[in-house]
């Protein structure tokens, strides 16, 4: 806390010019926008922190390896996009045309990726996306944008159905937020379930500003499905966690989409989270990956023992690793970086990644489960660090 206060005060002092930023000799300037204010501000740190960890890890090694011809440190140029896609567009235009950055990294969220796509294409700046997931992304013209996420809704639906089948689930209840990613998941999940012969006993959608789920959950309890699939965001995930216990939802498989992979959420529910399945495909001990444990340790060290967001932070770091490796191969020439990203195979904390068109063609969509307070990758089986287990009774 004290350290944070101190940093904040330093920032204020720095603003008034008493402390200028230290200029390393000839660093590589990389720009991006971050939602520091507005609707998505709470989601921003998962991304920004991963960028900062990467910057520190690279700079501690002496900087980015520029095509084997020496190392240069990384300097970030970052602006608040106020959670507004149009502001993000303006920021990338400014970064490229007026701040003259060498490279750009991704903004937060699917809509911001769509928004800036024309900008990076116009200026021929390669950009490795992260924190964006929608099948509509595949409609983006291939060229300067790639999406690292394995969590495309159609792939998720496929893997989810397979996981449910492997656990002998015959019936499910589905709840989902009306926002884009959640509802897009349902679009693919429902046909997949039908094909697999899994019945949907209950289905309900709700607006983002929902305040109470008791009604829905009471109905779900009455329907008594084998699995409850909640496609939710952190705020509504908390509602579910509290009220499912109140109502006494005891399905053996309970999926809570976004939330359990974030540190604060585990702090709020602790042992009650045991057995909850969530959307994540990484854990520090994941095999056949490059740098997972180092990333985890560096993150915890830099952020006072806080864990990274197992979903967003990880994906962000993956995108940074890809950029780093492309630069190490071909240097800072953006056209060459583009070709490198198109053709190379990268070693990341997700494991090997190669792009097919705009999307990550290797990493499968996957799920994790909280087991004894730890996040274990449980699906797909070939990547699992642990097997899926039945969710037991609620702890308290």
């Amino acid at each position: 806390m004290l350290k944070r206060l101190l940093t904040a005060s330093l920032v204020i002092v720095g603003m008034f010019g008493l402390l200028g930023p230290a200029h390393a000799a000839d660093p590589v300037k990389i720009g991006f926008s971050i939602p520091k204010t507005g609707l998505f501000a709470p989601a921003g740190p998962s991304q920004l922190n991963a960028y900062l960890v990467w910057q520190k890890m690279v700079n501690d090694k002496g900087g980015l390896d520029i095509g084997g011809k020496g190392r240069r440190k990384i300097e970030f140029v970052q602006y608040d996009d106020k959670s507004d896609p149009a502001q993000a567009v303006k920021i990338y235009e400014k970064l490229i045309t007026s701040d003259k950055v060498d490279l750009v990294m991704a903004p937060w969220g699917t809509q911001h990726h769509f928004a800036i796509a024309p900008v990076v294409e116009r200026h021929k700046f390669p950009l490795i996306g992260n924190t964006a997931a929608s099948v509509a992304l595949r409609k983006v013209k291939p060229g300067y944008l790639w999406f690292t996420t394995p969590m495309m809704p159609d792939n998720l639906a496929k893997e989810m159905t397979a996981m449910l089948k492997s656990r002998g689930v015959k019936s499910v209840a589905i709840m989902y937020n009306l926002l884009q990613f959640a509802s897009e998941n349902i679009q693919f999940l429902k046909p997949a379930l039908a094909k697999a012969g899994i019945t949907v006993k209950f289905e309900a959608k709700y607006p983002p500003d929902i305040k109470d789920m008791t009604g829905m959950l009471t109905k779900i309890k009455g329907a008594n499905p084998d699995a409850v699939l909640v496609h939710s965001y952190p705020g509504d995930s908390i509602l579910y966690m509290n009220q499912a216990r109140e109502v006494g939802i005891n399905a053996k498989t309970q999926y809570v989409m976004v939330g359990p992979a974030i540190g604060f959420f585990r702090g709020m529910f602790k042992s009650n989270l045991d057995g909850i399945v969530t959307m994540a495909a990484w854990t520090p001990g994941l095999k056949n990956t490059t740098g997972s444990q180092e990333f985890y340790n560096a993150y915890k060290k830099m952020f006072k023992g806080h864990e990274p967001d197992y979903l967003d932070s990880v994906e962000v770091f993956v995108s940074a690793q890809i950029l780093e490796q492309a630069i190490a191969k071909v240097g800072l020439n953006r056209e060459k970086i583009r070709q490198a990203v198109n053709t190379m195979t990268f070693d990341t904390i997700y494991g090997k990644i190669k792009f097919d068109g705009v999307q990550n063609s290797i990493t499968p969509a996957g799920f994790a489960q909280i087991q004894k307070g730890k996040i274990e990758v449980v699906w797909p089986k070939q990547r699992a660090t642990s097997a899926v287990v039945d969710k037991g009774a609620w702890a308290k």
Binding site: V11, P85, F114, L178, L179, P208
Partner: protein, 309 residues
């Protein structure tokens, strides 16, 4: 005001518009982006003044027009020519405003302020449900016109909205609206058809924002109900119009110009604390210039004139 100074003024205004228009040819993308934002908020704030500045019905939900226009536009995307789509979105929203305006405008004072906010939220949620039903919660807008074209389009809307406010302020219609603001009951007594005038003002005040919304989503490249109906847009419009002060066209020009340019300077130079500086400025405005920039300027000008005389 004699004729020669009037025509001089028109030439001046024409020249300014021509210069701004001409910039689209060679200004940097970043500068055009700032211009786009500037014109966008001028158009929005001027439209807000037609309803709220003139009649005193303070709308805290003007984003409802902006968002609805964007939605109508995106539904037609690819089906009709772009600029026809923009015009149609203005038309459709204008008609919609005529339909809902009558019951809504029966509610006055702070009740109307919150009602207008609620209306925007209601429409947002209806759109959200509709989009989720079609699994279209996010619609990319690929292949939009260039920034230079959007910039010109927004300039046209800003000029149109400014002209509209200027005209309304000097028209019989505007005299009726301003009487309504001062005392609705007394206005009715001297024969002003208050319900009809309010309704027309409501619709007029919605048309330009709808078109602005349509153009805006071509700039942001995406339609999502949460962004298109973001309440921050409503708050920003109100803030800019109030800071400008007055119920006449120069007010919004001053308010928007000041705030947009200030924000650009601030976020680019002090990204960590620019919002704090901005907030402090808003507070100071109320304390030191409660009648807005326009009011403050006219007070000071008339004082200095008096001193000179």
């Amino acid at each position: 005001m004699n004729n020669s100074s009037n025509s001089l003024r028109f030439i001046g205004i024409g020249a300014v518009i021509a210069i701004f228009g001409g910039l689209s040819g060679f200004a940097s993308e970043y500068m055009l982006g700032i211009g786009f934002t500037l014109f966008m908020y001028i158009a929005l704030a001027q439209s807000w003044v037609i309803l709220s500045g003139m009649t005193g019905y303070i709308s805290l939900g003007h984003v409802v027009f902006f968002g609805s226009g964007a939605y109508v536009f995106v539904l037609m995307w690819g089906l009709v020519p772009v600029w026809l789509g923009v015009a149609l979105s203005g038309l459709v929203v204008g008609i919609g405003a005529l339909i809902i305006g009558y019951p809504v405008l029966r509610v006055r004072g702070p009740y109307f302020v919150i009602l207008s906010f609620g209306l925007a939220e209601l429409v947002k949620n209806l759109v959200l449900i509709n989009e989720a039903r079609m699994y279209m919660s996010l619609r990319p807008v690929f292949g939009a016109p260039s920034l230079a074209q959007l910039y010109i389009a927004m300039l046209v809307l800003a000029v149109a909205a400014t002209g509209l406010t200027y005209w309304v302020r000097r028209s019989r219609f505007g005299a009726g609206l301003r009487s309504i603001r001062e005392d609705e009951w007394a206005a009715e007594t001297i024969g002003i058809p208050v319900a009809r005038l309010k309704l027309i003002a409501f619709a007029l005040s919605g048309i330009v924002p709808a078109m602005v919304g349509a153009i805006f989503i071509m700039r942001s490249g995406i339609f999502q109900p949460g962004d298109a109906f973001n309440p921050i847009v409503s708050f920003t419009i109100v803030t800019m119009a109030i800071i400008g002060g007055s119920d006449d066209a120069p007010g919004p020009l001053l308010g928007v110009g000041f705030l947009v340019i200030l924000q650009e300077l601030l976020w680019a130079n002090w990204p960590e604390i620019y919002m704090i500086i901005l907030g402090i400025l808003l507070i100071s405005f109320v304390l030191f210039a409660p009648s807005g920039i326009y009011g403050w300027l006219s007070a000071n000008i008339s004082r200095s004139k008096k001193n000179a005389a």
